[in-house]
Subunit: 240 residues, 2 copies
């Protein structure tokens, strides 16, 4: 039985938890020791793909090593693109956008977490589709031809997009359930003790208080403006 | 105002989400651009500490770069030790246990996620204390002189321990609330859109179905036995 290839695209300035959350879940389908050996799901391989073999730095200063490059990456069955402030530079990088486009055209599932949706869009993969993204960036989706849908995980055909950062964990458990069945997904949820108990109920703009919202929006303003400008620049040169 | 130093100890075979979850939360206290500039909390620095400067590999194959070594790491105000299958080798490594002991003796907060509690214990830091750990490893706590307490985050004096893997996110938000106040913690929770909606209610052994539990326990048996043997070996040589 041939391998099932799951690939995460990483780049300088990613929000690492957009990637590391679903990586922890989806890599548990792999070998060995794998929960999925007990299911009918084929063994999977998880790839961490970057432009070069060098470590990339997250937007909060965590260095992460890729396991392969755009050149050496196999054809992916699941393509997953995380977000982060570095989406600005990734958008402007033709090779990154072209890699996402090429893999996305043939993948069984085309997915993103957080502002990774903007990169899927810049690669032409969200045209006419419904999608999720980080709550503070939903206005960017129409710039790539997509419609924002409320929801922590949104599915439109083979496109599965998640909201901000931690929604990637919920997203990945849904992917596992689809690929390997609910028992395997629940075994992984149990293994990572995902029985969340946040100390506050502030994880969504409908729930957070005004002070928390102001602090967060202030911090995100620069990143938001930069991604919007990046998309507008691409539109001018006809690449979106 | 002097820096406030938060350090995560990483080693080969960590469960990366034990570390990357709280890293994402706690690194948002740092500079720049930092949510905490709006609070009275001093600027903090987040360190990723390993024995050497080389990348370490997680138990699921993710390569992570340290930002400093045991030798170059400053005195930590918050020490955080994640867990994973690699706890077995870390336990047997005198330098790693000694680093944790030395930093833990002077840190303001001594913390762990998942089976990282076993390493705190091996370093002599949990003697007579109440602690949390991954639900499948609670029987190991008495081997290091600690008492298991049910709870996703358990505090006993300056020792704050979290349960399995994803509990590190809840744990880190509580640390931020303590350090910088609830508004900053809520702003970070909102920024990472932590409004969890797992597709199943299977994240705790009291809730998971029998099939999921059997799949998970089967996969964990080898790691569990190896950590127990490692602790018993240390007890024989009088190091625990």
């Amino acid at each position: 039985m041939s391998d099932f290839n799951i690939g995460f695209v990483i780049f300088t300035g990613i929000t690492q938890l957009d990637f590391t959350g679903p990586f922890e879940v989806l890599s548990r389908l792999g070998t060995p020791p794998s929960i999925s050996v007990a299911s009918k799901f084929p063994q999977s391989r998880t790839h961490v793909v970057a432009k070069t073999a060098q470590a990339i730095m997250s937007d909060r200063g965590l260095g992460i090593m890729p396991s392969c490059t755009f050149e050496s990456c196999p054809s992916l069955d699941v393509l997953c693109v995380p977000g982060g402030a570095g989406v600005v530079e990734a958008l402007a990088d033709g090779e990154t956008v072209e890699f996402i486009r090429r893999q996305g055209m043939q993948a069984t599932y085309v997915t993103s977490v957080c502002t990774g949706a903007v990169l899927l869009g810049a690669a032409g993969l969200l045209e006419g589709r419904r999608a999720a993204t980080h709550w503070a960036y939903t206005d960017l989706l129409p710039l790539v031809g997509a419609t924002h849908e409320n929801g922590r995980v949104v599915r439109d055909g083979n496109i599965i997009t998640a909201g901000g950062v931690t929604s990637g964990i919920d997203f990945a458990l849904r992917i596992v359930a689809e690929l390997a069945g609910p028992d395997v997904a629940q075994a992984i949820q149990l293994a990572i003790e995902y029985d969340p108990a946040p100390p506050f109920d502030a994880g969504h703009p409908d729930k957070a208080n005004a002070v928390a919202k102001a602090l967060m929006v202030q911090r995100n303003e620069i990143a938001h403006a930069a991604i919007r400008q990046g998309l507008e620049r691409l539109a001018v040169v006809g690449r979106v």
